[in-house]
Amino acid sequence: MTVTEITLIILAGSYLAGLIGSLTGLGGGVVIIPLLTLLLNVNIHYAIGASLISVIATSSGSAAAYVKEGITNIRLGMFLEIATTIGAMIGAVLALYMQTSVIAIIFGLILIFSAVMSLKKKKEHLAEQKSMWAQKLKLNGTYPANNTMVAYNVANVGGGFFMMLFAGVISGLLGIGSGALKVVAMDGIMRIPFKVSTTTSNFMIGVTAAASAVVYLQRGYIDPGLSMPVVIGVLLGALTGSKILVHTSSSQWVRWVFAVIVTFLAGQMIYNGFNHKI
């Protein structure tokens, strides 16, 4: 394939990935890696490098808006970034020594988990119990909802921190934002309101990805010719997605279609992994 052909194919595929990714909240990385490895036969190391760069672009772009609106809990994000950056560094080093087929299988499993998470009903809850650590670390906060400020408490700081360490390892190993795991940590374990946990997760993803990207950059995983169409395509797709999201009331059917596609791709990745084709 010539440079122009492959660039245009990746650009179109990345645009779709960014569009669907922003509509479902899964992020574009989960589609980019199967697209590059399964369809275009790109080595998974290059695919991870390119995906990671697109993750930084989309998370920084959307985090900018949420931070300005004051929904993101900056202190919570900064505190948990200790865990995710340490994890990301470990994951990026692991990726250098782990067999690519094993990486493909883990990726498939995380894909299925992310698809299931995107289908789950979202419930707003406010933690009742007071956590000593949350008070010491000034993690409890407020967020704007219906023109008033809603106060919330943060529970189980230790559990959330540990889960973030794991999310960071996965992010560094697979070159994705692992937003689904971050939301599990904040929404499920620390009992933070959904709006705050998704936006704070998004805020953290850029830093987590940057921590592993510096390792990948030096190892030559980040190929400019490949990253260029991926990052531009995903960013434009995500922009279109966020515009559509404002005008539609229900995105449930999009989630279902996406969950089916992602599960199919996950099956392919796992199958190829076990047969050592990746």
């Binding site: 394939m1 010539t2 440079v3 122009t4 660039t7 590059l36 275009l40 036969n41 790109v42 080595n43 190391h45 290059y46 760069i53 930084i56 672009a57 920084s60 772009g61 985090a63 900018a64 931070v67 300005k68 004051g70 900056i74 202190r75 900064m78 505190f79 970034e81 200790i82 950056t85 340490i86 560094m89 990026a92 080093v93 670390l137 000034k138 850029g206 830093v207 990805a209 940057a210 921590a211 592993s212 990207a213 510096v214 390792v215 950059l217 030096q218 190892r219 030559g220 995983y221 980040i222 190929d223 400019p224 010719g225 490949l226 990253s227 260029m228 169409p229 990052v231 531009i232 960013l235």
Partner: protein
């Protein structure tokens, strides 16, 4: 009454949001220009990404990228844009640290600097290992 602060959380939020947006716009602009140059010069060549061999030498080191930019090589310009993009969240951390210093929130100044230290350590060990 709490004493009047010179800088509040809302100011930090505005600055961080502004840095993130500006970083993405600038780096994407650089990547786009580099992409145009790359396609113009190498558009009809064939590429293989099936086997992992690493990236070409001239986009691997800081001096190589700098030389590539001066000689107007597309991939060097793209890589410069990508490095700016990776730097954006890191610069965001740096400004958060300055914000927490101005707020006299020493606990979070420390936490922020620790995160910054981990990333720098990650960059250095990635190179040495």
């Amino acid at each position: 009454m709490p004493e009047q602060k010179h800088i509040a959380d809302t100011d930090i939020q505005q600055i961080i949001g502004w840095i993130l947006r500006l970083g993405v716009i600038i780096s994407m602009g650089v990547v786009f220009v580099g992409g145009c140059v790359y396609l113009y010069r190498h558009g009809y060549e064939t590429v293989h990404y099936g086997e992992f061999v690493g990236i070409p030498g001239f986009v691997h080191s800081a001096s190589g990228i700098w030389h590539g930019i001066i000689t107007f090589r597309g991939r060097a310009i793209i890589q410069a844009g990508i490095i700016l993009l990776i730097a954006t969240p890191v610069i965001r951390i740096l400004f958060s640290a300055i914000g927490f210093v101005l707020e006299k929130d020493w606990l979070y100044t420390g936490i922020t600097l620790l995160v910054l230290f981990i990333i720098v350590a990650s960059a250095l060990t990635g190179h040495a290992g």
